[in-house]
Symmetry: C3
Subunit: 462 residues, 3 copies
């Protein structure tokens, strides 16, 4: 027996989401760091390949097209003429000519690929023209209700706006996810009418039409898996659900998360088993956290690497690489282009940018180090600053290995401090320092006796 044809997936992403009060197309709002449409694409990829996925887009089509993988077809619906019309446009472009055609909304990021798999299996095993994914909800207001006859057969779906009092009391709702038989869908799609509250072609009306021509069945799913996002409140709710899924998977894999309800890890992030994550941690973009690293409390990291056994707390990291066993924080801002090798330290009230710290190099307190290279095991005294900007351009500071930079040293770039050199506290270093030398810029300490008494007398006078 030959395999059934690969399913087709049509994703409906043309809705404008006016209740989100934002110019951004609704399906581009992010959930756990990923545009919600891409969650749906990832779910579709579980059951089919990219060339069998079509996305119907409308509002700000270019923005939506820009985030989609190149192999995925897009269909443009210029006017808001309803979900039925959106599917019709896709079919007219040759999408879904045979086999199972799955239609899913682009605003249900929590819908998992395995649920689509179950739905397709259900459809494949049945002879019905369509299988609906439905859910029982406590507060059905706003959803289309699933109307069944007395023997439980699905008859049709009725929208909130068009429902009677007794229909409104039904708690089983349409999730807007369908597995159609391609032929059955094509047979009825042209018959959809617009004589309803919104004067649009409702895809839901295919259910009644298909029923007349063959069976309609429903697979009752979990409400949490499939209800759409229409408001910023629902966006926050779904974001919380998706974050908990990510955190649960990480905990199952061996990541210790102390309070998963307060840990914000994007779908794009990698955390290795054996890492520990404290609360108030945001990991975004291409961030990776290695084994035995301890991150948080209060860390915001984007596109950064945190190495094995590193300790990062009360810190902001942007495009930074933190080496194994390196310490960062409390209270550090590690900016773009910072690379800290193994055992380095970026301590308290320290900001770094476009800087390489060699193995064991330490910047413990109150420093700004930018556009610099610091050699192995060098130590930068508290209050030291690389004066990298001359008012016109940025210049580089090069510090050798085993250097001792005294407290409050100003390194006026471009400048080099040789291996093993020292600088005196409070010095402005504007010329290169030879290896092993001490460079100091300082006047003599003078004392004015009884100053306090005189000063007070003067203050009292005025």
């Amino acid at each position: 027996m030959s395999d059934p044809p690969t399913p087709t997936v049509i994703i409906l992403a043309a809705g404008q989401g006016t209740r989100m009060k934002s110019d951004l197309p609704k399906v581009l709002h992010e959930v756990a760091g990923r545009p919600m449409l891409m969650w749906t694409v990832e779910a579709a990829r579980v059951i089919t390949s990219d060339e069998n996925i079509a996305v119907v887009i409308g509002h700000q089509a270019d923005l939506v097209r820009a985030i989609l993988p190149t192999g995925i077809k897009t269909v443009t619906q210029r006017d808001q003429r309803g979900t039925g019309h959106a599917v019709l446009l896709a079919l007219e472009e040759g999408v879904g000519s045979e086999g199972v055609v799955v239609v899913v909304p682009g605003d249900t990021p929590q819908l998992r690929g395995e649920v689509l798999e179950q739905l397709v299996d259900f459809k494949t095993d049945s002879s019905s023209g369509v299988v609906l994914l439905t859910a029982n909800v406590e507060a059905p207001t706003g959803f289309g209700r699933v109307i069944r006859d007395t023997d439980g057969t699905v008859v049709r779906i009725v929208e909130q706006r068009d429902a009677t009092e007794s229909e409104l009391a039904v708690s089983e709702v349409n999730t807007s996810v369908y597995a159609f038989d391609a032929a059955a869908l094509r047979a009825v799609i042209g018959d959809l009418k617009t004589d309803n509250a919104q004067q649009e072609m409702y895809l839901t009306d295919t259910v009644g039409l298909i029923r007349e021509r063959g069976g309609v069945q429903a697979m009752v799913g979990d409400a949490d898996d499939s209800l759409g996002i229409n408001t910023l409140g629902q966006l926050a709710d779904v974001d919380a659900v998706m974050r908990m899924r990510i955190n649960q998977e990480l905990m199952d894999s061996g990541v210790k998360i102390l309070d998963p309800s307060r840990t914000y890890i994007d779908a794009s992030v990698t955390v290795e088993p054996g890492a520990t994550i404290y609360p108030d941690v945001y990991l975004q973009g291409g961030t990776t956290v290695a084994d035995q690293a301890v991150v948080g409390p209060s860390v915001f990291a984007i596109d950064s690497e945190i190495g094995t056994g590193a300790r990062v707390w009360y810190a902001v990291l942007r495009e930074a690489i933190i080496g194994p066993r390196t310490e960062v924080g409390p209270y550090a801002s590690v900016r773009k282009g910072t690379v800290a090798d193994a055992g380095a330290k970026i301590g308290t009230f320290v900001e770094t940018k476009n800087t390489h710290l060699g193995e064991g190099a330490k910047v413990p307190h109150l420093s700004y180090i930018g556009d610099a290279r610091v050699g192995q095991n060098s130590n930068i005294g508290a209050g030291s600053i690389t004066c990298n900007y001359d008012g016109f351009e940025k210049h580089e500071t090069v510090i050798g290995d085993n250097v001792r930079i005294g407290s409050d040293t100003m390194l006026v770039a471009p400048v080099e401090v040789g291996d093993g050199a020292w600088t005196g506290a409070g010095s402005v270093i504007s010329r290169n320092v030879s290896p092993g030398a001490l460079a100091v810029e300082r006047g003599n300490q003078k004392e004015i006796p009884d100053y306090a008494a005189k000063r007070k007398a003067k203050a009292d006078d005025t």
Copy 2:
């Protein structure tokens, strides 16, 4: 037909709240930044005007009176003789002579004006002497139970202390919110007895007395709306409920709140649609946040303005004005009297106080700027400080437009730096700087060769 008389509202705010373990009168504890009594006053204002509101106060009456709007009447109950006695005192002072008299406790901040409206409508439409607001709760322990007879008519309310075993099993409880017919209330209030567990006049006993003279009815409400606060644990619970209401309203209006369970916005705060609020944000007092601003994570702002498109994160703001598109943080403390104009920057490890930053002025790192005026597009180098305190008084630093302050510049106030001037890194500037000039205070950089080797030899010696 003439309108019915405006309802009277008597708020009972004399309870001492000893289980709160605090000297503060219970009704002054804050919920979402507002004393809980004021939430009740605001609810009362939905159904009546200030001259028809009376608050019965006891413990530390002056403190309570001080927060009430001037038009609201107060009645003092010197001794704790019960809720019935409190209402009696109000009636004796002429409060509630006709129409509907609503009695509410002062410790139910979550009670909404619309619920009072429904209760008054219910009372107005009925001929009963009193309508109780009741609620069904899962754990009724501690509450007065609503006792009904076999046909469902309310018979009386029985306090926990005085209830029989079977009465204790009742899950419908008294919320202590009542809409009385003024005449019915006045007819029975004098008959209240004190032969009970607390030897006080219970207002609840009016129910039984009125029943003998006319109907008693109950309106069953939502428990979340109306249960009182008696412990610090309940205070925290209600605070969470009220914060979620505020956040939900803001999200409905178009504010993007990423995690509403971790966002603390006081009732007094304004956030415009289009703003985005990250977790761990506290907005208090008269704070306002404009359209397109992005606030958080981790921001504490009190009595501050955050302008359109501003970006504020990991920062504390007190009585500060942050202009449009201005950046603050990460790790900034912006204190009283800071005004940052459009496109300014208060960066990392920067503290400002009583300071005006002109358009595009930047203080990027490690600086304390106090009692200063900084002109447009000026840049303050890392580590710079206004030495505003001479040990006796504060003095002002004035920096012109387009100034370049070098790193680690000490500006010894009073001092002025002219437009377009520069200062050298590490300089102490104690005299005014002419426009366009460079001011520098620095010695010569000297070098001691082979210092490291000698220093080590000396250290090894000791």
Copy 3:
């Protein structure tokens, strides 16, 4: 009538917890800052004395033994041969020779002593050979099911692996907590078989064996009290439960906790009534917080004292003593050996270490003060640093009373500044300063006119 013998408690702590994905023995994972085994020991101590407690340990026995109080007996189970075998080993070593023998797992930190007390009372009042603690759960998968016959009598416990379909449907589960009659236990323990899925001696099988010889009874408890921890997800869940218990107790005692769901107070910490705790606060180890102190938002404190009326926010404290009415933060790192007397201030972007601040001494901004003594009412200017490290050793800085350290002063230790002395801004102080004197190290301020124009011309040239 004589008292019954003191109960014996056998704690089973030999499980390896492989699903925790950690080398640490499962019972040493911390819950609310205390190894989970110690929670069970504390519960056992409610019903008996240390000499009647035995802990069966296996995996990494030395690590487990190290945390146990010295009076508690340990029994080593070298091979993983099941819970029945573990109890057998304890009995063979003479544990539990008479009276009631309570067996509890070492991975149920939420089990309270009062529940054990009820269980022992239940057993003492009955003549049954064993009383099981059971619980009804919604999702029983993974737990041993309690099988009862038609008249409700407990027949046996069947493990998930060995259960039939209908047994799997049972929602009453074994919590693995038992109160045995010593004689009944000893009579059957030798008869346990290993003909089951794991080829181990199951303690649960004693139930069936005892049933044949005498009664078996069950006490149905609360699922939250007694279900074991097997995954990092369950660890996080139980940690949340235990933290809420701690917070609830503190609120009941009069501590104001604004958001208990975001407050992390270890079991070892003391917080006095009248203190206020904001969200994002971690209190660990021997930390104490006194009356009227206000702590948070965002404070991490370990082994530190926070005095009466102190105000600490946005700060990290490690082994520090903060005096009455002392202010710390926002953004302070207070390290080991810091002692701040009454009314002192450790302000914004300030780090201290091994330092004593006298009464009213203030370090308001941007300073590192280490290995120092600062006298009463002295003020340290912004940007000042104790240069305590000469590249080889740490040295001390001594500052007298009423000293005014100017901004950006480098104090090159060892150095002393006498009472009432001053230092000039930007000075490097490397010699002692006499009392009342002003010490200053500074060059002359020079001005290069028209520098900006020349500099720009030069920049344009290149």
